[in-house]
């Protein structure tokens, strides 16, 4: 085996990592995944990861996902699981694109 180095640096979070790319705020925002999450009131909110404010609220998850795809046709969309199944419970997310 040849030369090697030990890596002791911490693994950067997504935000820290994207910061290192030296992008504008708008560009960073455009790269952030979109999240579809169920609210306590039973409807579904969509928001960009890292943003506090919802971009929209929809009565069904399907409508929320459709809107998320429109907002970010090429970006990642994560949907909060709302049922306990064999592939994941309500504490998990599934990536739809």
């Amino acid at each position: 085996m040849g030369r090697s180095v030990k890596i002791r640096t911490r693994i950067p979070s997504y935000e820290e990592f994207v910061d290192t790319l030296g992008l504008s705020k708008a560009r960073r925002r455009s790269l952030a995944p979109i999240i579809v999450e169920r609210r306590e009131s039973g409807d579904y909110a969509i928001r960009r990861s890292g943003s506090e404010r919802a971009s929209g609220v929809f009565p069904t998850q399907r409508e929320a996902v459709e809107r998320a795809r429109e907002l970010s046709p090429y970006g990642a969309v994560f949907v909060e699981r709302v049922r306990d199944t064999t592939v994941g419970g309500t504490d998990k997310w599934r990536k739809v694109s």
Binding site: M1, G2, R3, S4, V5, K6, I7, R8, T9, R10, I11, P12, S13, Y14, E15, F17, V18, T20, L21, G22, L23, R27, L31, P33, I35, S49, G50, P73, Y74, G75, A76, F78, K92, W93, K95
Partner: protein, 207 residues
């Protein structure tokens, strides 16, 4: 060496060929490094009016590590007369000099596709073992794991291959989104990095 430049301890300068034949290995380097918690850097990401050589030197100096993939250093048969291209070995030379001269040091690694080719093409490096990836994605990942030994949260080869496969499936989307003609354009590189990081972190990327 004049001037003081901040060195990013987890940044890796990638000295690789920019061309369609190298696309899968390029994605492999980006995906593998990000999975290892490192930050890949290319010269294409630096805007401005600086002379290209200054940009390259500045980028190498800002990185703690560099990788030099010489597997595609061949004679360019396009006119004017067939000519070898020296850019990549030259950048390797800059990194070697930096390692010798910079007080904070710089670790550089040479990657090749075939055994003994480096011995013939660059015999000044005799005594340096190149990482042989055999021109495959798995070979690149495996060699990255060999040289970068993460003390904690060390990924497996299977995880790195999974990230590569997930990211590869999104390449056409990245090109469509950025309007770039190739992944070697700055915007496409940035999107590629973000996509890899999302693939690596999954829901952990969310907040």
């Amino acid at each position: 060496m004049p001037g003081v430049q901040k060195v990013t301890q987890n940044a890796v300068f990638l000295n690789i060929p920019y061309g369609p034949k190298f696309r899968s290995l390029y994605i492999a380097y980006v995906a593998g490094l990000i999975q290892l918690g490192l930050i890949p850097r290319l010269t294409l990401r630096q805007p401005g009016k600086k002379r290209r050589l200054d940009k390259i030197l500045s980028e190498i100096r800002s990185c703690r590590y560099s990788i030099h993939d010489l597997s595609m250093v061949v004679v360019d048969r396009n006119p004017p007369p067939p000519t070898p291209r020296f850019n990549m070995p030259f950048e390797l030379g800059l990194a070697v000099a930096l390692d010798k001269l910079a007080p904070e040091g710089h670790d550089w690694f040479v990657f090749e596709a075939q055994d003994y080719r480096l011995l013939k093409s660059l015999s000044d490096l005799n005594g340096t073992d190149p990482q042989i990836h055999k021109g495959t994605v798995r070979g690149v990942m495996s060699q990255l794991l060999n040289i970068f030994r993460r003390v904690r949260n060390r990924p497996t080869l299977a995880e790195m291959m999974h990230t590569y496969n997930t990211t590869s499936r999104r390449v056409e989307m990245i090109l469509a989104k950025t309007g770039a003609a190739s992944l070697f354009e700055a915007r496409a590189f940035e999107d590629l990095c973000a996509e890899v990081k999302i693939a690596v972190d999954g829901p952990k990327a969310l907040r």
